[in-house]
Amino acid sequence: MKLRVYVTLKPGVLDPQGEAIRHALGSLGFDGINGVRQGKMIELDLLEEDAAQAEETAKDMCEKLLANTVIESYQIEPA
């Protein structure tokens, strides 16, 4: 089954790239932006068919490689 993993900087960790995007949006005339945070999405295609088991595996992958839990948090959802 396919899963999507979203990896984002934890709240409170400065996101210079998000800030740059916010400025660029501002210069395009998009005002009223409180903030922009940038992250990444990783799509996993696993052989595992059991949803709970697949999520467990994805979580293990996040802890061991996909996210740096010092600064990043992750979210897993079915794709």
Partner: protein
């Protein structure tokens, strides 16, 4: 002193680091990332700068999970000395041998220039040849050198005197101007600036030389 220098696909300071160790009088052995063990009798492992694995996923993330990384980790756990420079510092953080993380530079720019550093402690085999509080010039060249750590980690690094170098004029947004940190046993050093690129006046500065000479002295037979 026998120094092993790890080479990953995308390392580009490995030769410079080998030269720096060799000039200080060390025997140098290059080690490939797929190797599963370090050569016999190694005193120190150098993790060089560069763009290991193309900086894919996160800087240093893939390298930190390579076969040699496990051997380096075991070596450090047994009290071995490890020096990580630039991408090597990123690798050591990803391996968990040092605390904290390196974020994209606050300027969002790749910054390549010589910067001033203050020696914060001489209590380490890496900084013993310097004098505390003195200022040195060493080049930096990175895009992700913005050191970040929790308040607790910072408090601990400060109280244990584990900040080795601070920037005089912060080039990347690092918290508390931190340019390099030591492990708890003071035998693992991670730093963003490149001492191996400051070995002679021809390179603009020879201030990096004392780091390697200090190491050599630390391993000299008494």
């Amino acid at each position: 002193m026998k120094a092993a220098v790890v080479v990953f696909p995308g390392s580009n300071c490995d030769r410079d680091l080998q030269v720096a160790f060799a000039q200080a009088g060390a025997e140098v052995v290059p080690v490939w990332h797929k190797d599963t063990s370090l050569p016999e009798g190694v005193d120190i492992v150098g993790i060089p700068g560069g763009f290991s694995f193309g900086d894919y996923l996160r800087c240093g993330a893939i390298a930190a999970r390579s076969p040699i990384a496990r051997a380096v980790s075991e070596f450090a756990d047994k009290g071995g000395h490890v020096l990580g420079i630039c991408n090597g510092f990123q690798v050591l953080l990803e391996m968990g041998l040092l605390p904290g993380a390196l974020l994209r530079n606050a300027s969002l720019k790749y910054t390549c220039r010589t910067v001033g550093l203050r020696i914060e402690t001489t209590d380490s085999p890496f900084t013993r040849e310097y004098s505390a509080g003195s200022e040195i010039s060493v080049p930096i060249a990175h895009h992700d050198g913005n050191y970040a750590a929790t308040t607790e980690t910072l408090a601990r690094l400060n109280s244990e005197g584990r900040v080795a170098f601070r920037y005089l004029d912060n080039p990347n947004g690092s918290v508390e101007d931190i340019a390099g940190i030591l492990s708890e046993n003071r035998r693992v050093l991670g730093m963003m600036p490149h001492p191996e690129r400051a070995l002679s006046g021809l390179q603009g500065s020879a201030d990096g030389k004392r780091l390697f000479e200090g190491l050599m002295g630390a391993f000299a037979p008494a």
